[in-house]
């Protein structure tokens, strides 16, 4: 009899569904908080100004100096390189390969979580931006002039990033199917995708300019940058400073397509949470129907999931637009387009809450792997032990089911409150009369209650 410790998929332990009593408590608190917020709210906007205060000049000088930027950029490029190399040359066991955990857990979840507290942490480490800037400098040096870029079509705004965001999640949760069974993304495919994305991003940066593309089209910059708007640190005029948490978000959604980015975030997280729970039967029905038409099973499963991920995006978008349409009916309302962009940032805390609720436990478990065996043995060869931590593993007992439930429900409730706060504040800025502003917020309230209760519902039926 052999009892070998061995891990396989990234999600070795799935969360238990939130029990009915906790669901009821969560939903109740959400409703109570919402209505008291409406009744007893403030009357002048408080978050529209960042109240940015510089931190010590010395600290700014060190952290924002060129050498620091070069070092951070080099670290970013190096780690991306390690991830791609591991994916191409390492083991095909997804959990034993550095690539998947590093890209989809450490970065994809870690940057949103920590940026939402501290501000934009990704920007200095962004490997593509680093390469783009070096290339730009090199061009100036050789050609003796600034590189000429195409003018970015302003109407496109952040749409490329919104679509890219869906594509990243699609790659993670939909693409990895085989024979009609979801098997997860394999490290090799992940590395190839990273290479393709690198080529695409560098090309776009060459066309439109590095900073321009990072602000609008580069998926990770835009996505992580969105969450960083909630954080309390920010850079202004070359100096690092403190700002009121949440306040930077009020200026984020100015480009077209910003609402699409935050909606894509909520929609993709919803899809991942619902595919094994709330949508399971519907997905199976469509899958069977498609496979009966003679389509091969892998294609049928991918197509089914693609349809549902698109439906999620459409559904979340529709709820938001209905809310915006409702606000439009309140006396003194700005134009539909202005409202649509102007309230997009109020969904950022909800998007973050969805991420925490769905991936918090995965993050805690998988980061243990990241800093033990994946760090010492990135290729998963079982013969390397760079830092002496290769024999470490994941302690799944460090989080009880109850702890996970409370974090999940707590995150949704807090996200709901922060979203309402931002929405109320924005309404006060848009409506001259605070009573009209309050009235308009019945609509946003309905939108947020819908998202939060849907989030709770997903947790109460899903398998993780």
């Amino acid at each position: 009899m052999s009892w070998l410790p061995f891990a396989h998929a990234l999600v070795a332990r799935q969360d238990l569904p939130v029990p009915a009593w906790l669901f009821a408590w969560g939903a109740s608190i959400v409703l109570i908080v919402s209505f008291f917020a409406l009744a007893a709210a403030w009357r002048t906007p408080r978050f529209e100004r960042e109240r940015w205060r510089p931190l010590g000049a010395g600290l700014s000088r060190v952290l924002l100096s060129l050498p620091t930027q070069v070092v951070c950029g080099a670290i970013g490029v190096f780690l991306l390189g390690v991830a791609i190399y591991s994916g191409l040359r390492g083991t095909e066991a997804p959990d034993r390969n550095f690539a998947l955990t590093f890209l989809f857990v450490t970065c994809w979840l870690g940057f949103p979580f920590f940026s939402a507290i501290f501000g934009d942490l990704f920007r200095p480490f962004n490997p593509w931006r680093a390469v783009g800037r070096v290339a730009g400098s090199g061009f100036r040096l050789i050609a003796g002039q600034r590189s000429a870029h195409l003018t970015y079509p302003e109407k496109l705004g952040r749409w490329p990033a919104a679509i890219g965001l869906i594509a990243v999640v699609w790659l993670e949760v939909v693409y990895g199917a085989s024979g009609g069974v979801a098997v997860g993304l394999d490290p090799h495919a992940c590395a190839v995708a990273a290479l393709v994305y690198t080529g695409y991003t560098l090309a776009m940066m060459a066309l439109f300019g590095t900073e321009e593309w990072c602000e609008r089209g580069e998926v990770f910059s835009v996505y992580f940058g969105m969450f960083s708007q909630l954080g309390f640190l920010g850079v202004e005029d070359g100096r690092l400073g403190r700002r009121m948490p949440l306040s930077a978000a009020t200026r984020w959604a100015t480009l077209p397509g910003s609402a699409a980015v935050v909606i894509a975030s909520i929609a993709t997280t919803s899809f991942d949470g619902a595919q094994e729970g709330a949508f399971k039967d519907a997905i199976e029905t469509v899958f069977e129907w498609l496979s009966e038409t003679g389509m091969d099973l892998t294609t049928a499963l991918r197509l089914t999931d693609t349809i549902f991920i698109t439906l999620c995006f459409a559904g979340v978008g529709l709820v938001y637009l209905l809310g915006v349409r409702g606000m439009r009916t309140v006396r003194g309302a700005p134009s539909f387009a202005k409202l649509r962009t102007g309230f997009a940032h109020t969904l950022i805390p909800i998007a973050l809450a969805y991420l925490v609720a769905h991936y918090f436990s995965l993050f805690v478990f998988q980061e243990q792997a990241q800093f033990t065996y994946l760090l010492s043995d990135p290729l998963g060869t079982a013969t390397t032990d760079l830092f002496g931590t290769a024999s470490g593993g994941i302690d799944f007992t460090i989080l009880s089911a109850n702890a996970i439930w409370y974090v999940q429900v707590g995150a949704l409730v807090v996200g709901h409150v922060l979203g309402l706060t931002l929405a109320h504040d924005r309404a006060l800025a848009y409506w001259p009369d605070y009573r009209d502003a309050s009235r308009s917020q019945y609509w946003m309230l309905a939108v947020m209650v819908a998202f939060t209760c849907f989030g709770l519902y997903l947790l109460s039926v899903s398998n993780g």
């Binding site: 396989h8 238990l16 029990p19 009915a20 009593w21 109740s28 209505f35």
Partner: protein, 300 residues
């Protein structure tokens, strides 16, 4: 808008919300019931061929209630029944008696016993209660005996108990048609039940979901697929997880999260037996083919 009116809506919502919580709360029922039906044991005397009945065991916070209802018995005869840890289909039906304190007293309250007398129609019922909760997985079956032998056996250690049955006579013949399963008896010889002759046991009700020794769930794998789909097993934290996998092909079985792996040979069976110390939902799969065979749920 005046202040009073302003708070009317929130208060109404508060009321609705409290109602919602109350409803949610009432769903949270801790009681759990396992049930089974009595069937005559192969070695039972011929008088009992038509014995039938129901057995039910309910656990609730801090207590156990069990009830049996049996018909097809010999009229006006006393019977006893005991809660056993094993299933009905093992050679010594039911295996050892269930005991709260293992190796402790062989009498209630440490064991769960039933005593009753069949009426003129050959029907009878009995109820047993305990202020302790029988752990999940240990209520294997309820086995019915004639009271006489048992009473005699008990007389030495427990005078009052024996006195209840002192008027009983012989109502059955000693069966000797199953001496060939003597090997099976040996296994049970160490638990103090050997005073009973095997034929003493009349009927047995396997408690569904009770999961005693003989009721270890088995996942049957044929052609790389679990027969009947992915098996679902649910436990509470702290319990012992036990299941078997039998496969027609050589495979490696991997339980995720707990990170346990065992090889199963072709046409062989492996048994997993480990404590449920991680909460969550886990998969077990055929490692070679990547096919899921079990969804294991461990509740807090």
């Amino acid at each position: 808008m005046n202040q009073a009116k302003k708070f009317l809506l929130p208060l109404a919502v508060l009321a609705v919300a409290i109602g919602l919580v109350a409803c949610g709360g009432s769903d949270n029922n801790d009681e759990e019931t396992v049930a089974g039906t009595f069937e005559a044991l192969p070695g039972a005397p011929s008088d009992y061929a038509k014995v039938s009945g129901d057995a039910e065991l309910s656990r609730s916070d801090g207590g156990t209630t069990a009830e049996i209802e049996v018909s097809g018995l010999v009229p006006n005869t006393a019977y006893v029944a005991h809660l056993h840890t094993g299933g009905c289909d093992q050679p010594d039906a039911g295996g050892p008696h269930f005991q709260f304190e293992k190796g402790g007293s062989e009498e209630p309250p440490n064991e769960i016993h039933f005593e009753f007398e069949a009426d003129a129609k050959g029907e009878g019922s009995a109820k047993a209660t305990s202020d302790q909760e029988v752990p999940v997985g240990e209520a294997g079956s309820i086995v019915l005996h004639l009271a006489d032998d048992h009473g005699t056996a008990m007389a030495a250690s427990h005078a009052e108990f024996a006195s209840l049955f002192v008027h009983e006579g012989e109502h059955h013949e000693e069966g000797d048609d199953h001496g060939d399963d003597g090997a099976g008896h040996d296994a049970g010889d160490d638990h103090g039940e050997d005073e009973h002759s095997h034929s003493d046991k009349i009927a047995c009700a396997e408690l569904e979901g009770g999961g005693g020794t003989a009721a270890v769930p088995t996942i049957i794998v044929r052609n790389g697929e679990p027969v009947g789909g992915i098996k679902q097993l649910e436990y509470s934290a702290g319990e012992q997880i036990r299941f078997k996998v039998s496969s027609d092909e050589k495979e490696e079985i991997h339980v995720h999260g707990y990170d346990l792996m065992q090889d199963v040979p072709a046409d062989g069976t492996v048994e997993f037996d480990f404590p449920a110390d991680i909460e969550g939902i886990f998969e077990a799969e055929l490692e070679g083919q990547g096919v899921q065979i079990l969804e294991l749920t461990v509740n807090p």
